[in-house]
């Protein structure tokens, strides 16, 4: 296993030369992953912002006479079975995607990070209780949690966001805890403790700034997961309710037209791929820059 990992690493990622000049050059220039990821996310964000003020057509207005038109100058991505413009729907769909990502990741950060820091600073019984609870939540598949929430509280965007957020808490708690454990062993924390600083102040002034890089990386990765999960839930009819455009539901609705009007699946499919790829590349790129372990290993 170890060898195959090494192989992957050497093939997939050129290992930078361990020399000092190599290291400084790398740090002064953002990695390709970071740039590509940032560009893709910027594209999605830009489309979402533009769609707030302008779309070529009303994405929910049905025009029976314009049903199932192939891509053309008038309709760049064609029209769906209700005569709605697919390009407009893809544009507006990016809003839901980003909102779900932000709220889900936001919930996970707000709950998960303090729990992780607390567990890291109090490694005794309290830390154990928090982390075991965390493990239980981690053992529960996030998508399944979202489906259960949908069945209990009624399916919808809000339910999906909350469920995905709760499902992502363990990831953040773990990252925050492991970072905190490292920071707690540093000299400046010992110094702060010697100076009788309050625990809360240490967490805020020393721990949080030092683990923020790792948290940002985790945010980006989880954002990608949330985007995919929202699409999956909407595909199953448990996410965003129609007629609000959602990429996952567009895929679902395109099913019976795959043989005749494949563009209906391709447009939202590419949109999902771009968003997920973007967040994952961004996450990788950020990790290269932020992760203290990576830095020390180079």
């Amino acid at each position: 296993m170890a060898t195959s990992l090494d192989t992957t690493e050497s093939v997939g990622m050129p290992v930078p030369a361990p020399s000092i000049p190599g290291r400084s050059r790398r740090r002064s220039r953002p990695g390709t992953q970071l740039v590509v990821g940032a560009v893709l996310i910027a594209l999605v964000a830009l489309v979402a912002l533009v769609s707030l003020v302008w779309t070529p057509y009303d994405p929910v207005a049905t025009v029976a006479s314009d049903r199932l038109q192939f891509p053309s100058a008038a309709h760049w991505f064609g029209t769906d079975r209700f005569g709605r413009d697919v390009f407009s729907a893809v544009m507006v769909g990016s809003q839901i995607t980003l909102i779900v990502g932000f709220i889900a990741v936001g919930i996970a950060v707000i709950v998960g990070v303090p729990l992780g820091i607390l567990a890291g600073m109090r490694p005794g019984r309290l830390g154990d209780v928090i982390m075991r609870g965390n493990d239980i939540l981690l053992a529960f598949p996030g998508l399944l949690l979202a489906i259960v929430f949908g069945a209990v509280f009624g399916a919808g965007t809000v339910t999906a966001m909350v469920a995905l957020g709760i499902g992502s808490i363990p990831a953040f708690a773990r990252v925050a805890r492991s970072g905190t454990l490292q920071v707690m062993k540093t000299d400046y924390v010992f110094a702060a403790r010697a100076a009788n600083r309050s625990e809360f102040r240490i967490a805020l002034r020393h721990v949080l700034p030092n683990i923020s890089g790792m948290i940002v990386v985790q945010c980006s990765v989880n954002f990608g997961i949330a985007v995919l999960a929202e699409a999956g839930l909407s595909f199953l009819g448990l996410g965003t309710m129609p007629p609000t455009p959602s990429w996952g539901r567009m895929l679902q609705e395109s099913q019976q037209f795959l043989g005749s009007h494949d563009y209906l699946a391709i447009a939202p499919g590419i949109a999902i791929a771009v968003a997920v790829l973007g967040f994952n590349l961004l996450g990788d790129g950020l990790r290269d820059r932020f992760d203290p372990k990576m830095r020390s290993s180079r």
């Binding site: 990992l5 992957t8 690493e9 997939g12 990622m13 992953q33 929910v60 207005a61 049905t62 029976a64 049903r67 079975r81 209700f82 005569g83 069945a151 009624g154 399916a155 919808g156 990765v221 990608g224 997961i225 995919l228 699409a231 009819g237 448990l238 309710m241 129609p242 007629p243 895929l251 395109s254 099913q255 019976q256 037209f257 795959l258 043989g259 005749s260 494949d262 699946a265 391709i266 499919g269 590419i270 999902i272 791929a273 997920v276 790829l277 994952n280 590349l281 996450g283 990788d284 990790r287 290269d288 992760d291 372990k293 990576m294």
Partner: protein
């Protein structure tokens, strides 16, 4: 660490891409796998699974679809042309005043548990509908029966409290199913009837298998091994047909795929008649639909032709009221509410209901989700903001909307034959239509001559429609796609029942 995350990035991205590719791959399908299946077996693809097999306590047309005429039989049945035909009754005579029916029953009929079918079983079955054992709302169809007696083992006399034009027809639907006195202990899983098939197994979420009976009293069917497979998704059922996993998709729910099958010689495509109305139900007992003007506004706001074209690929017929064109009292009422958004806005303004918001409970059925999006869009045009709430079908929808009537607007396919009275002539039904205007008229029509019945029912239906009790969007087509070699398909959905006994493989 790095390799780990880039692998994860790759995996998630690949999953997204794979989802798209897998979906496109489905459409390509594979060639139909020939008919090397045994000639006495057939697999039928359906969407919409029954909750259980007991229609006496549980609603949902999926139950009688499986068991009526296949497992259970009635004294009479409705044939593919919608005509009444004898089944367990050889013949019958009606008294002068139309209240006494004398049935002569077939001799030598047995139930699948070996018991003989006699007039006593018929008495038991009819009285059971009137008892508390029957919970299904359709039991009201038997209210008109005053008494029933077994004159001998093969002679049955039914006395009605008044003449009824509808009763004998209703006996051909599932309220007329004949049960064995000793065979009603486990109706949900072990139905026992006189029909040509028995239920072999019921795998919830997957399939029901039926086996032909050796001791069936009538003509034994060619196909003795029937598997009904239930698909959650309409496209999956047609993919299964293409790949040869199923031989027929009945009541096909992906109309946009019809064209592909029509142009393929390996398949036959049938558009059968239907009793199924797509009903945009409005809860007459709660705001804003307790105001007739708001309901009428909805009727004017919806362009039904556009709904049919957009949601169901143009398959479907505008009918204007909850009466199928095959029914004797059908009248074209489509011009009662032409598409007129201006008029809709006026009515809403009059009712003081401008820019209202409502919740629209949409069952998770293909037709419902398809219809709901265009309905929402058209309602928005006139200032009704309908927000869709998806209701899992059947369990959640039946409980919340149908049983508790906890809803404002919903949409459902009502497939029961001649169901206009069951739907509207009952203020306790989930529609909650105030039937005081029609109740007496209904009884007068039912008790009158056949001519009075037709004219009286037309009046009743017109009143219901003028009151905009609910909006019948269109008559749902019964689309059937099957392998070309499959014959004897009962494609006309005259009752809820899918009659299997005629099926046969041809060369």
């Amino acid at each position: 660490m790095n390799a780990h995350t880039s692998r994860r990035a790759l995996a998630t991205t690949a999953a997204a891409a794979a989802a798209v590719l897998a979906l496109s791959a489905c459409s390509a399908g594979s060639s139909s796998g020939g008919s090397d299946a045994p000639s006495d077996a057939v697999v039928i693809g359906l969407t919409g699974e029954p909750v259980n097999l007991d229609f006496t306590t549980t609603s949902g047309a999926a139950i009688p679809q499986v068991v009526m005429n296949n497992v259970y039989e009635g004294l009479v049945t409705i044939d593919q042309e919608g005509e009444l035909q004898p089944q367990l009754a050889e013949s019958w005579a009606v008294s002068e005043d139309g209240t006494v029916y004398d049935f002569a029953l077939h001799d030598g009929v047995t139930f699948s548990d070996g018991e003989d079918f006699t007039a006593a079983d018929a008495v038991f079955s009819i009285e059971r509908v009137q008892s508390d054992a029957w919970l299904n709302g359709t039991k009201s169809k038997m209210d008109v029966v005053e008494s029933v007696e077994a004159v001998s083992d093969t002679e049955l006399r039914v006395t009605l409290s008044r003449p009824s034009n509808a009763w004998l027809f209703d006996m051909g639907t599932y309220v007329g199913a004949m049960f064995s006195e000793t065979g009603v202990d486990d109706l949900a899983t072990k139905p026992i009837g006189t029909g040509p098939y028995t239920v072999e197994s019921f795998v919830s979420g997957d399939r029901i298998t039926l086996a032909g009976r050796d001791d069936y009293w009538g003509e034994e069917p060619d196909i003795t091994d029937v598997t009904l497979r239930y698909f959650a998704d309409a496209v999956a059922s047609t993919n299964a047909l293409r790949s040869g996993d199923v031989d027929m998709v009945y009541n096909m729910q992906a109309p946009d795929l019809m064209g592909q099958f029509e142009s393929d010689e390996a398949f036959q495509v049938i558009e059968g008649t239907s009793n199924g109305e797509i009903l945009l139900s409005m809860n007459n007992t709660v705001a804003p639909f307790d105001d007739v003007r708001v309901r009428q506004a909805v009727m004017y706001a919806i362009d039904r032709r556009a709904v049919i074209d957009a949601a169901w690929a143009g398959y479907g017929t505008e009918i204007g009221a909850m009466v199928a064109p095959t029914d004797p009292y059908y009248e074209d009422l489509t011009d009662l509410y032409p598409y007129d958004p201006e008029k809709a806005r006026e009515l809403l303004a009059e009712a003081g209901a401008e820019n209202i918001s409502i919740t629209f409970d949409v069952p998770t059925r293909p037709y419902a989700t398809a219809v709901s999006e265009i309905v929402v869009s058209q309602l928005a045009e006139v200032g009704i903001d309908a927000s869709i709430q998806s209701s899992e079908f059947p369990a959640v929808w039946l409980d919340k909307v149908f049983t508790q009537a906890d809803y404002q607007m919903s949409v459902i396919l009502a497939v029961e034959a001649r169901d206009v009275l069951a739907t509207f002539n009952n203020p306790d039904y989930y529609i909650g239509y105030d039937n005081s205007k029609i109740a007496d008229q209904v009884i007068a029509a039912d008790s009158g001559t056949p001519e009075e019945y037709v004219s009286g029912m037309k009046e009743v239906v017109r009143t219901i429609t003028e009151d905009a009790a609910s909006d019948v969007l269109f008559l749902f087509p019964n689309l059937v796609v099957a392998k070309a070699e499959l014959g004897g398909i009962a494609a006309n959905a005259v009752t809820e029942s899918l009659v299997l006994s005629g099926l046969t493989w041809t060369d």
